[in-house]
């Protein structure tokens, strides 16, 4: 039962990263692909009706994590206190950027909110990556299962490390490049003309960035946490995740060159999904490794809620998520196709 919920929580987090990931990516390249007010308005319009619903996955994923693994939720959220609260502020600023830019018709006002939107998206991508990096590297969990990390200590990977050290910053850059790639694919898929051309070239640079940072991260992970590979050598079917990931990254290159933007977008989504799945596979049965003493590490079994609660949860979760998938496919179908410059129904 705990294993099933471990898979479900990984799934929810992955859904969040894939969905909100592309609109974060749109934020990253926002100032590059749109050079004037009209172009930037169009870029934002590609995510207008969906970004809010995408962000709801974060709430739902956090809620599910809380429900299934209350100890993990308590320990990681209090330990990552500072970066999480900063992430909350960045999410607010980013939402303001999207919603307030079109409220006043003045170029300085719009430029200001464009920069706020883009900058907060960049920082969010890096912070989310760094958070993942912390989970992989391990945190100074004490014997009661709690910890607290300052934002940084010496920037080196030591047992009493901060949130940011060279390793987690590297993972932050992996996330930055990956989401930039993903978001650029999304814009290419939803637009035409100049914006599409620029976002394809942004995707090209992002691809190389993703390739090199991922390679570096792979080497770094092997040297910092070689035990990540234990699960893979014991259960070789697990290699399917990283292999699919590489295929996804390869596909992103292949389809971009062939100008098949939808396939490129799906490829980057596959890359993200597989890489998160690989990480989860490598971590198991730990959900939060301790950097001080391996015996302090939180495992799925210790962190999970009671058997009864988890069994009840399966029933309502399946029903609820079935409904949600229904709404989402309906909404995305309703807003499918390319965005255009016509001032038809654009909300607000």
């Amino acid at each position: 039962m705990e294993i099933l919920w471990f898979v479900i929580v990984t799934f929810m987090i992955t859904m969040y990263v894939v969905l909100d990931g592309f609109d974060l990516g749109v934020g990253i390249v926002h100032l590059i692909v749109g050079k004037n007010d009209d172009e930037r308005r169009l870029t934002l319009k590609t995510i207008g009706p969906v970004w809010d619903a995408n962000e709801v996955w974060l709430l739902a994923a956090a809620g599910t994590l809380y429900f299934a693994f209350p100890r993990l939720y308590a320990s990681s959220f209090s330990g990552f206190y500072l970066p999480l609260i900063i992430v909350l502020w960045l999410l607010m600023l980013r939402g303001l950027g999207i919603e307030f830019r079109h409220q006043v018709d003045h170029s300085m006002w719009r430029l200001f909110w464009d920069v706020v939107f883009s900058l907060s998206s960049v920082l969010l991508a890096i912070f989310f990556g760094a958070a993942l990096g912390n989970v992989v590297r391990g945190v100074p969990l004490n014997k009661d299962g709690y910890f607290f990390e300052p934002l940084w200590t010496t920037f080196t990977v030591v047992p009493e490390a901060g949130i940011l050290d060279w390793f987690t910053i590297l993972i932050g850059f992996v996330a930055f490049c990956t989401l930039m790639l993903h978001g650029s694919h999304y814009i290419s898929m939803k637009t035409e003309g100049t914006i599409q051309k620029r976002s394809r070239s942004a995707a090209a640079s992002a691809w190389w960035g993703t390739f090199f940072t991922s390679l570096a991260a792979l080497i770094a992970t092997s040297s910092i946490r070689p035990e990540t590979w234990n699960n893979f050598s014991e259960h070789q079917w697990g290699y399917i995740f990283p292999v699919t990931g590489m295929l996804g990254l390869g596909g992103a290159y292949y389809f971009r060159v062939r100008r098949n933007d939808t396939a490129a977008f799906l490829s980057s989504a596959t890359f993200i999904t597989s890489m998160l799945a690989s990480t989860a596979f490598g971590l198991y049965p730990n959900v939060l490794p301790s950097s001080i003493d391996a015996s302090h590490s939180l495992t799925v079994h210790q962190a999970a809620a009671s058997e009864y609660g988890l069994r009840v949860g399966i029933v309502w979760w399946t029903a609820g998520i079935g409904l949600a998938v229904g709404y989402f496919s309906y909404v995305y179908r309703s807003f499918r196709g390319k965005v255009s410059g016509q001032p038809e129904e654009s909300g607000y």
Binding site: G63, T64, Y66, A74, G309, E345, G347
Partner: protein, 445 residues
């Protein structure tokens, strides 16, 4: 109270009080928008569709603010209240996760369709979208109230070997006897807020001599909904919720009413300041024997005062609890008076031209916000010193790894951030109201 505990409490209190300014409007407004859409169907008049679109825009801004200020609430269970989450996550994780899965997806998906898809959906589909937004926000409200009800009156749990509590009965948790009345009382309060806001905007249009057609619709819908909702807040929901408190948190009940001594034929205190040194109410204005009657339906019944309970069972901050409760009840009574008078004038067909009444309606919209906030202060202060009533003290629930200094850093950050949010929100809403419903008669621009 040590520094860290104080800062954690202040941060939660501030962020939740600010957050609740938005859902109380959206939950009530979603119902009124469904009403407007239903009137569009029945009367077949485009005016009601235009009105629904106008309020849809106001709804959207409030919804967005509700989401961005709501994420910190869920996060703070982990960031600031880690020991509480470790203790109780096995139970309240259920309702919080269900809120995400059942309510938020529904609400956010169909809000997008409601705002952007009127043409594509057609009138019937658009009505359904409005209804599903309403359903989502009311489900969300129930699951949050059920979470709070469990903290007020824990049921359906068992204590595990590690000392944490775990779910023992799913339906016990979901159908907590405390939750039913608390829910309808909360939602009624939300309808009061949205009804007053709608009536205030309508009154403004009528007083400013613009968009009179819509001004009349908003005033009419606002005062009629406001009348029903504000009476419902007093009876049966407020009355029943008071009985809940009396039964399960008797010391809290005495503190709310400002009753220090147990007595037969207890008086109902209307005005007066609690003096915690002398344990009495200063300069009281009260109605003799009324509290006994309202509580037990007998004029001479004995009501237990604070002296009937040992001090460690007393709520931590009695004066603030007493004021919160009295502000809520006092304002609630004034709301009934305003709405009764307005509906009377409406029935006499003079409301739209009675400028003094329109001025009152226009200026009274902030007070339901105050009453709702005071109501939640009553519930939350009444529970202290417990975080989970009878099971976990508030001081035992904080994240002890988060120092007072770090918590203060984020509290100050929230103050600054929410100040900016508040200013921008007001600018935007005022702008939308000033543009008015007629500016975009067909689709939203």
């Amino acid at each position: 109270m040590d520094d860290a505990l104080l800062v954690h409490r202040l941060q939660f209190a501030f962020t939740i009080a600010f957050h609740y300014l938005f859902p109380q409007l959206t939950m009530g407004l979603s119902l009124l928008i469904v009403l407007l859409k239903a009137m569009a169907f029945r009367a077949g008049h485009e005016r009601y569709n235009v009105a629904a679109r106008f309020w849809g825009k106001i709804f959207a801004i409030n919804f967005a603010l509700g989401v961005v200020t709501g994420i910190p609430m869920e996060f703070q269970f982990g960031t600031n209240w880690a020991r509480f989450s470790t203790f109780a996550g096995g139970v309240i994780g259920q309702t919080l996760a269900m809120e995400g899965v059942f309510a938020f997806f529904l609400e956010s998906s169909f809000l997008g369709l409601f705002l952007f898809g009127e043409k594509k959906l057609g009138p019937r589909g658009h009505f359904v979208a409005a209804f599903l937004v309403f359903l989502g926000s009311w489900i969300s409200g129930y699951l949050i109230v059920a979470t709070n009800a469990w903290m007020q009156h824990p049921v359906g749990y068992e204590v595990a070997h590690d000392g944490s509590v775990q779910l023992a009965s799913f339906w016990g948790l979901l159908l907590n006897p405390w939750a039913g009345w608390q829910y309808v009382h909360t939602m009624g309060g939300a309808v009061v807020t949205s009804a007053f806001v709608m009536a205030a905007v309508g009154a403004y249009f009528l007083l400013a001599n613009r968009e009179a057609e819509y001004g009349r619709v908003f005033v009419r819908v606002g005062v009629v909904a406001g009348l029903f909702a504000s009476i419902f807040e007093l009876f049966p929901s407020g009355d029943a919720q008071g009985k809940n408190v009396l039964q399960h948190q008797p010391a809290t009940f005495a503190a709310m009413e400002g009753l220090f001594e147990t007595k037969e034929g207890a008086e109902l205190v209307l005005i007066g300041q609690p003096d915690m040194e002398k344990l009495k109410i200063d300069n009281p204005i009260h109605v003799p024997k009324l509290l006994s009657y309202l509580t037990y339906y007998r004029w001479s019944a004995e009501v237990k005062g604070l002296d009937a309970f040992p001090r460690e069972q007393w709520p931590t901050n009695i004066p603030l609890l007493y004021y919160s409760y009295h502000i809520m009840v006092g304002l609630g009574t004034i709301f009934i008076a305003i709405m009764v008078a307005s509906v009377f004038l409406l029935w006499k067909r003079t409301l739209y031209s009675a400028r003094w009444a329109l001025w009152i309606l226009m200026l009274s919209f902030p007070f339901p916000y105050i009453a709702n906030t005071a109501g939640w202060f009553t519930a939350e202060l009444g529970r202290q010193p417990w975080l989970v009533y009878g099971l976990l003290r508030t001081a035992e629930g904080t994240s002890h790894t988060v120092s007072a200094g770090n918590a203060l850093f984020t509290l100050l950050g929230f103050l600054g951030m929410y100040f900016v949010l508040g200013v921008l929100f007001l600018l935007l809403v005022i702008k939308k109201i000033n543009v008015g419903p007629e500016a975009s008669p067909h689709a939203k621009h």
